[in-house]
């Protein structure tokens, strides 16, 4: 198991390398660069000389392969460079936003799983009754309603009922937990709805499948309490496929909440993504893509290892 984990971690290197190559060259295909956007973006009249100078300063005048080499050397030494727009280190730019995005993602996951597992379970147990129909309506709603629009509804409701508006500035958890939680609970719920819908449907369908398994019949034939049949025998098996969905959804929340963050006025990874794209801020964009890619790879590994913990048949070597 440990050897397997080590092997998988080593295999992450070529995967991320591939991502690095792709993102680097794909960005250079796009016409224009950060200097043009910065100096001429608002129609300002800046001399070609100034632009060349700025390009030289940012290293954009070097041959493509040399630029790539520089960035690669940086990656290996964990130096992601500076943002071409703000001149602040990429790590710093991402760092503050990541804290926020990560917190929203974690809170959304907790909310979603806490609601989805019982919801899916009861829907499966009371299949084709009003409980199931209600659960189905709620979950289909979660899949069909875009989360930013749902977020707006939440905002309008809060505004209408409590005259509450999201604060302009973000209060980190360690500064003031209460303010922080009050601020983030609503966006977490807005994105958690969709998340919860996906997971609940997965739990319901895989539980229904497990209920048809022979070992459930065996458990009932042994006279096991129905509650124990559901929790110990059925649910533990049914949650395995749900883990995959939870992992993928979690990875999506890092960097995928572009509009929701704007609705709730949150300065997260999603907003940063949009900004850096519109500014052609290559180094920052590359750093962001690498971050999201790393998240996906790490979470996939975590899911695979969790599988082995829950399912003794899976033994990685």
């Amino acid at each position: 198991m440990l050897a397997y984990a080590a092997k998988r971690i080593l295999l992450m290197i070529p995967t991320l390398l591939g991502v690095a190559v792709l993102v680097f060259f794909m960005l250079r295909v796009v016409p224009g660069d950060v200097v043009e956007v910065k100096l001429r973006g608002d129609g300002g009249n800046v001399s070609q000389e100034t632009i060349e100078m700025e390009r030289r300063r940012l290293g954009l005048d070097k041959p493509l392969l040399a630029q790539f080499g520089d960035w690669m050397v940086g990656l290996v030494t964990l130096d992601f460079g500076k943002s071409m727009w703000t001149d602040r280190p990429v790590v710093e730019e991402i760092g503050t936003r990541l804290e926020l995005s990560l917190q929203v993602a974690i809170m959304a996951t907790i909310i979603a799983v806490l609601i989805a597992v019982p919801l899916g379970t009861f829907a499966a147990l009371m299949r084709d009754t009003w409980v199931d129909y209600l659960a189905r309506i709620v979950t289909i709603g979660g899949l069909a309603i875009p989360s930013f629009w749902f977020g707006m509804l939440v905002m309008l409701t809060l505004l209408g009922l409590f005259n509450w508006l999201p604060p302009i500035t973000f209060t980190p958890l360690h500064v003031d937990p209460w303010t922080n939680l009050v601020q983030l609970i609503w966006p977490a719920m807005a994105v958690g709805y969709r998340y919860c819908a996906v997971v609940a449907r997965m739990v319901r369908s895989s539980l229904l499948e497990v209920f048809n398994e022979d070992y459930i019949r065996t458990a009932r034939a042994k006279g096991v309490y129905e509650k124990l049949v559901i929790v110990r025998h059925a649910l533990r098996n049914a949650l395995l496929p749900a883990i995959t969905v939870i992992g993928l959804e979690f990875a999506f929340l890092i960097g995928g909440l572009v509009v929701t963050e704007q609705v709730f006025n949150l300065n997260g990874i999603g907003v940063l993504f949009v900004q850096s794209v519109s500014r052609n801020d290559f180094t920052l964009l590359q750093g962001l893509v690498m971050l999201v890619a790393a998240f996906y790879v790490v979470i996939n590994l975590a899911v695979d290892l969790l599988y082995a913990v829950f399912d003794p048949r899976i033994r990685y070597r």
């Binding site: 050897a3 397997y4 092997k7 299949r127 084709d128 398994e213 022979d214 070992y215 019949r217 065996t218 458990a219 009932r220 034939a221 042994k222 006279g223 096991v224 309490y225 129905e226 124990l228 110990r232 025998h233 533990r236 098996n237 829950f310 399912d311 003794p312 048949r313 070597r317």
Partner: protein, 688 residues
Amino acid sequence: MLDVQPTHDAGGAHAAGPDGDRQPLLAVEDLHVEFSTDAGTVRAVEGLSFSVDRGEVVAIVGESGSGKSVTALSIMRLLPARSGRVTRGRIAFDGRNLLDLDGEQMRQIRGRDISMIFQEPMTSLNPILQIGLQIMEPLQIHLGLDEAQARARAVELMRLVGIPDAERRLGQYPHQFSGGMRQRVMIAIGLACNPKLIIADEPTTALDVTIQAQILELMKDLSRKLDIALIVITHNLGIVARYADRVIVLYAARMAEQGPAEAIFHRPRHPYTMGLLRSVPRIDRPGGARLETIEGLPPSLAAPPSGCRFAPRCPYRIAGCDAQPPLVATDTGGLSACVRTAEIAAGSIAWARAAADAGAKAQVAADQPLLSVRGLTKHFVVSTGLLGRAGRVRAVEDVSFDVRPGETLGLVGESGCGKTTVGRLILRLEEPTSGAIRFEGRDLLRASEGELAAMRRKVQVIFQDPYSSLNPRMTVGQIVGEPLRVYDLAQGDAAVRARVGDLLGQVGLRAEMAVRYPHQLSGGQRQRVGIARALAMEPSFIVCDEAVSALDVSIQGQIINLLEDLQRAHGLSYLFIAHDLAVVRHISMRVVVMYLGRVMEVADRDALYREPLHPYTKLLLDAAPVPDPTVEKARAPRLITGELPSPLAPPEGCVFHTRCPLAGPECRQAVPPLREAKPGHHVACVKA
């Protein structure tokens, strides 16, 4: 040993009265069960009544769909809640009507007073829970034992059912157990609370014959020793013969006959029972004669015929069969649902032989072998370990045999012995590691593309599972017609259609079947389509890989007869791969016995079954049950013990020495060569 105490309730909540012992333990009265399906309401059990006494072994026999498993699930009240329901009847157990109990009362009975053992040991245990927990569960729930007591008792139970190294295996998971060991675990769970009744639904169907014998022996011993009543549900009449006191025969949701086991086997009084007994190939009788079969198919329960359900297939059918026949007492102390029971008992009507024996076996030409296999070896490389250290599964090791034109060569062995791989190698679906395969004198392994294509036409295959081997999106006509088009054996749509009709006719299907899809056919009909497809290529050699194993007894006989008829008509040769020794005895002319990838014995069919030389063959034949209670009950307990070793690490020397009663030190040294012990009888054993 386990301390054996009947678990009568201390409080005597339902203490037996003075005549309590005469009351049967279980009395099923007029049971009716219905299922709601897409095809409408299906009456899965109609008016079934029977009883089981304390300590008695009762067998319920029937083909798939006859209602035997549904009966068991009804007793346990484990019918699928959404579709199945008991519509009428009474199930009295120990004086209480189980159908009146609420869920909680029923839960207390399940696993404590009645336990159930299911067919599929591979899927009946929870894959993610430890074996120990699964055995301890009923002990803790029903008997209120604490963790330590339950653990100690679980170890006792595992020893009782013959699981070695019980303490350590307690912490293992089901996938670490073989099929036979898992079924032992299921039996341990069933025995845990000393129940009064165990219902075993096809307990050994999924197991190899040597393991099956061990499990049956174990169940019989334990039920006798612990005075547990046993209901065994099976389609295998041989199993029933050895263990049952009484036999109940179901046909199409109704009881056809019931009676003492001895009477059912020797003096059956219902035509269905008679037909069933006649259509089973017998391992203890020479083959050769054509199997007598029950023609036709069991009726659909969604639209059953009125009157006697068996009448459409019955050779004794008379006008009176249009009304539902009442159960009448037979002269043998049983019941039979046939209006002509008395006539049958009097012997005034004899079983109408289907077609008279249509001549002897096909003629085997003694000249050149059609197929010749020499030193065939196949190793599968499996990677283990971090850096992919390769392990080798020696699936087939140095196998040689010939198949002559017009001959049927049987290839038998337990699962994992490599018999299917041999078939796949001959079909060139796998590349052999080494060895030679010559077909009509040409070396297949060195054949050119063109030669190989020509060979593919002549060598065909019939698979075990007639459902998954037919494309569900193609009609029967397309399936059978496809090879005709691919190999250009018929020109034009009209010619293809005519040929398809002809082929379907040869396998006993009506030409109209061509427009149907596989899911609209029964298992037997699907297998006929598979045979028609193989015949379309006008082959001279067909590999039949467990071709009849998935079929019900009465259908199996029909397909065997069909294969034999086709062999005579077309001069076909068969390689008949099977695990059922009785079927192989019936159909084969010579037999190859394999064990762990190697050939143990090759001989003429009758010589092999009459005087087997190899100890493995002897044990295999000894393990196979015979549908005759007199023979079975007189037989000494079966000999074979142990499990099949892993083909990843086969034993040194003779691969069978770990389970062989004759094994000596020399058997561990060298692999015994296949030698001709008698003319035409080859055996790979130094002791034989």
